[in-house]
Symmetry: C2
Subunit: 344 residues, 2 copies
């Protein structure tokens, strides 16, 4: 069965493009709150689970050993834009573990931010530090060094660091991650396919600590606080994750993943959210996430006005002319919910 | 009814993302050769009709007046990557009409080519010359100057240049382009919604000259020859349109448009092709176009091997590791065809 069309892209008054997808929302007890489309097939969450990939860094004491604060922990959870401030924090993390950029195995790409890319070009080019995953990789390296194990090969599935990540993902999501669930991510670490309904449960636990050991719940709370306090470090200037967490602070955790994935948590509501657009479109996954936040999180008028620009963004061309708009469809409206949403 | 899934993106052995879309192939007499999905709803072709938008430049004699050769005419049909060689030709076109970059109203964006963007950053930044549409706009400006009319406002729907474009699109496609079909393109000129079946007929005419006046058929042949002779000028280094026309020369004309559109012609086969991916994904539209060329164009083994890398491209990550592959689905296989394809 097809997933429903969740987002339409209008040019003028006509639908130019449309995006299908699936949504799971769960509470920390594991109960489904919303299930739209296919939430049972394993999907690759990609970078949307970076916070879970960073859990062992905190829980093992590695973060304390190297004195990592909010900026460093937010970077460990980040898909950053490669701006100078991001690069500086990654370098600092590596230095704390006695390493430098040569230890990073994420590969090189130009910064996501075009301004940052232009700056990098003027400075001689891009490096692995500019890779959007360099903070996560610096976190993996800090973990390996604190564990006193060889850090080379930290990205391989058989390395203790990646085995710890796999085990953490299983504990949070309840999914059994056999070898058939594994593929290679853009930055070369394993990515594990997990059904959206399990990802939603995992992020409900991450947002609330329910169902986790005390140490694990404390580590999750520390990562959430780091991202809430330093949202610019989780993404960057003008980015969705940054903008949303700047509006709502610790009341919302959101994280993008490649190929149209978003995961998030509304801690005070006890909810975890997982979204995947069939076609891999981030623009659609963002609008869906914003619409779900607008529906399930109580907020004031100022917050609602700020959020609305993410739910139905106006599309402008290179001259700044308004050419169209994104809109979420009725498939996101009541009727699809299995538990009543709170009154706005 | 939903359009079928035409392309799947695999990570490891799992489908990570999928793309739906519609395809129309027609002959120059207007007969449908293939119709997959919804080919009747008007869709914005965007830059895929740049060759038709450039027709008046040649047919009116403006191209001759300013001595425009293959490079300039290919640029007038191009969505170029903003490489130095592209910018130089656009500057030359403008100079022939006594203008400079300040006359361009396409807006500014960083070059599509990341190498070219880095080069532009080192040279002080991007300009309207780097906009992928600057060649088309230079063509519009040459047309206005040759017509002896005010060139300012050449991008507005009421300007004679855009009225000529609209009339040309109607003649080729047979679609009636009322005001309800108009929206604003990324470069600010009008984009007119046309059903895929009409676009396919239009490109069958463009590829063969059948059903056109002698002057119009000659102008179409000249634009096709310019693109076949100078395929790098139509797109750029590593780009699909360039690569395909480098392989097949004058036997294939292809042109990308934003939001997952491709138009093309197989002149010797008498066929026109129009593709639109529902979600706007170029990666999918490219694979579909390559698969259709592989099916409908007779070719030798060397050509077939070169084409295969476009039909099923291997996906690599930032370290160059193979992480997945794109594949076209059975919806592109026989059974959907209304006229028998030639034997391979």
């Amino acid at each position: 069965m097809s997933n429903p069309v969740l987002v339409e892209v209008l040019r003028g008054t006509r639908v130019e493009s449309s995006h299908r997808g699936a949504i799971a929302i769960a509470d920390a007890a594991g109960a489904a709150v919303l299930a739209t489309g296919d939430v049972a097939t394993p999907r690759f969450p990609r970078s949307a689970v970076k916070a879970l990939q960073a859990m062992a860094l905190v829980e093992t004491g590695a973060a304390d050993r190297y004195g990592l604060g909010d900026e460093e922990l937010a970077l460990a959870c980040a898909s950053h834009s490669g701006e100078p401030g991001h690069v500086a924090v990654v370098e600092r993390m590596l230095a704390r573990a006695g390493l430098d950029a040569s230890a990073l195995c994420c590969g090189t790409h130009w910064p996501i931010s075009q301004e940052a890319a232009a700056a990098a070009a003027r400075m001689g080019g891009a490096s692995a530090l500019h890779n959007n995953c360099s903070g996560k990789h610096a976190g993996f390296l800090c973990l390996a060094c604190a564990m006193g194990i060889e850090h080379a090969g930290y990205w391989r599935p058989e390395h203790l660091v990646q085995r710890a990540v796999r085990s953490m993902l299983e504990d949070f999501t309840g999914a059994v991650l056999g070898e058939d669930r594994r593929a290679i991510d853009g930055c070369s670490v394993p990515t594990w396919a997990v059904p959206l309904e399990n990802l939603a449960r995992g992020f409900a636990k991450f947002g609330t600590g329910h169902g986790l050991s005390r140490e694990r719940a404390n580590a999750a709370a520390r990562l959430r606080a780091a991202c809430a306090n330093k949202p610019w470090h989780v993404a960057g200037t003008g980015r969705f994750c940054t903008g949303i967490m700047q509006i709502f602070g610790s009341r919302v955790f959101v994280k993008t993943g490649a190929e149209g994935v978003y995961c998030g948590a509304l801690p005070d509501e006890g909810l975890g959210i997982a979204i995947k657009c069939d076609d891999g479109a981030s623009r659609a996954a963002q609008a869906i996430m914003a619409a779900l936040i607008g529906r399930f999180l109580p907020m004031n008028d100022i917050e609602r006005a700020a959020l609305s620009t993410y739910i139905g963004p106006v599309l402008r061309n290179w001259n700044g002319f308004e050419v169209g708009v994104l809109r979420v469809t009725d498939a996101l409206h009541p009727g699809y919910v299995t538990r009543k949403a709170p009154s706005p």
